[in-house]
């Protein structure tokens, strides 16, 4: 590992403002700073802060090891930057480019400093490259992490959003299921439906599976569990929305849905529910 020499660090410190100007010019040229999602002033503050932290880091610590505690400020800054970029919807390329576009101004600076000493020039260029690459990679990793957090949160929200329990009639609840049924979702669905049965005192719950793309043995088992739990609580369950393909799959798989009332569509299920409740629908004359 090659470390930055004191001469390079001093030169960087002396030419800080010039470096900053040429870095910003570089970012401007690539169009990164003219994005509508981030304003120019904010961008300038970020470049200035980063350069200041970078200098502090090189001064105190070993440039070959950015995981050391001397670099914690720089790392914290990059964490924050990556997170805000991820939330603003930037891609990883643009985020990493923030660091990598500093390479050119730094290279030029090193070049002028060691114009007469090619050996030293080579080793210092290598040190600068290593440092910036490490910081760039760190940024990308942090960016990726924040993106994954965003995705995980969205998944959770989706899970809650996708299970509404609707009241169809007095004492009749319906649960339109949309999307694939896995164990976790079934659990959430089951809990919210049972809770609503307790709250409303509904005697009949209709589970509509029109929006469930496929039914395999596992899904059938989940459905059976839900229906059994509903029965244990003292209510009745009807499964509606069994499409022809799904009916075929169920028969071909040899699944046993005995004891479960199934209907082709929600209207039939509602008609049955009304009939059980002793209600009739008549046309007003």
């Amino acid at each position: 590992m090659t470390a930055l020499s004191q001469q390079t660090i001093d030169a960087t410190r002396k030419n800080e403002s010039q470096l900053l100007a040429s870095w910003q010019a570089n970012l401007d040229a690539s169009g990164a700073s003219r994005d509508s999602r981030i304003n120019h002033a904010e961008f300038e503050t970020q470049t200035r802060d980063f350069l200041r932290l970078l200098l502090a880091g090189t001064n105190n610590g070993d440039s070959a090891n950015i995981a050391a505690s001397e670099w914690s400020d720089v790392r914290a800054f990059l964490d924050g930057l990556s997170r805000s970029r991820a939330l603003q919807g930037f891609d990883s390329h643009t985020t990493a480019n923030f660091i990598f576009s500093l390479k050119r101004p730094l290279f030029e600076l090193v070049h002028t400093q060691y114009a007469s000493n090619p050996t030293e020039l080579g080793s210092q260029l290598w040190a600068v490259t290593e440092l910036l690459d490490a910081l760039g990679m760190y940024t990308v990793r942090a960016f990726q992490k924040s993106r994954e957090e965003v995705i995980a949160r969205q998944q959770e929200e989706l899970l809650e959003l996708s299970t509404p329990v609707v009241k169809l009639w007095d004492g009749v609840l319906a649960l339109p299921m949309i999307g694939t049924l896995d164990s976790q979702r079934t659990q959430v669905v089951m809990e919210s439906l049972l809770q609503r049965i307790v709250e409303t005192g509904a005697e009949i719950a209709i589970i509509d599976i029109t929006g469930v793309p496929t039914v395999d043995t596992l899904v059938a088992q989940h459905l059976l569990k839900t229906v059994t739990a509903i029965r244990l609580m003292g209510a009745d369950a009807i499964i509606s929305g069994v499409r022809p393909q799904i009916a075929q799959t169920i028969v071909h798989l040899g699944l046993d849905l005995q004891g479960i009332v199934t209907k082709a569509n929600l209207a039939d299920a509602l008609a049955l529910a009304l009939k059980r409740a002793g209600l009739t629908v008549t046309k007003a004359t």
Partner: protein, 120 residues
């Protein structure tokens, strides 16, 4: 010793479980209830478990057993007020309690019992 009270209401017996069930208590209840059914020749038993928020496989099986033995002694049994968490637990344990009649609350359970007894 702690006991679960069994109340008589006309032709029916009323059991309300208000405390945490443990195995011994469950066994005592089973004995007491069969005794009372034979003494009073009750036609129906209503077991209210709305205050029960935790079950294990033993208690789950006990609910099934009580229901089964009262049916043999010619008393219809209705289990009412099962909490969602309890229902989910029983299903996950594989205890689907076939043959046990359930209702949402005591009121519905009572009317269900009357219907069933009348139709006999």
């Amino acid at each position: 010793m702690e006991r679960i009270p069994i109340l008589r209401m006309g032709d029916f017996l009323l059991v309300t479980i208000q405390v945490d069930m443990h195995d011994e208590l469950a066994m005592t209840l089973q004995d007491d209830l069969s005794d009372r059914i034979s003494k009073t020749s009750a036609r129906g038993v209503l077991i209210d478990i709305s205050a029960l928020d935790m079950v294990d496989s033993f208690i789950g099986r006990m609910i099934g057993t009580i229901s089964g033995l009262s049916r043999i002694m010619d008393a219809q049994t209705v289990v009412v007020g099962m909490q969602p968490a309890v229902a989910i637990t029983l299903v996950e344990l594989g205890l689907t309690l076939p043959g046990v009649i359930t209702a949402l609350n005591v009121e519905r359970g009572m009317s269900l019992l009357r219907e069933r007894v009348q139709s006999e």
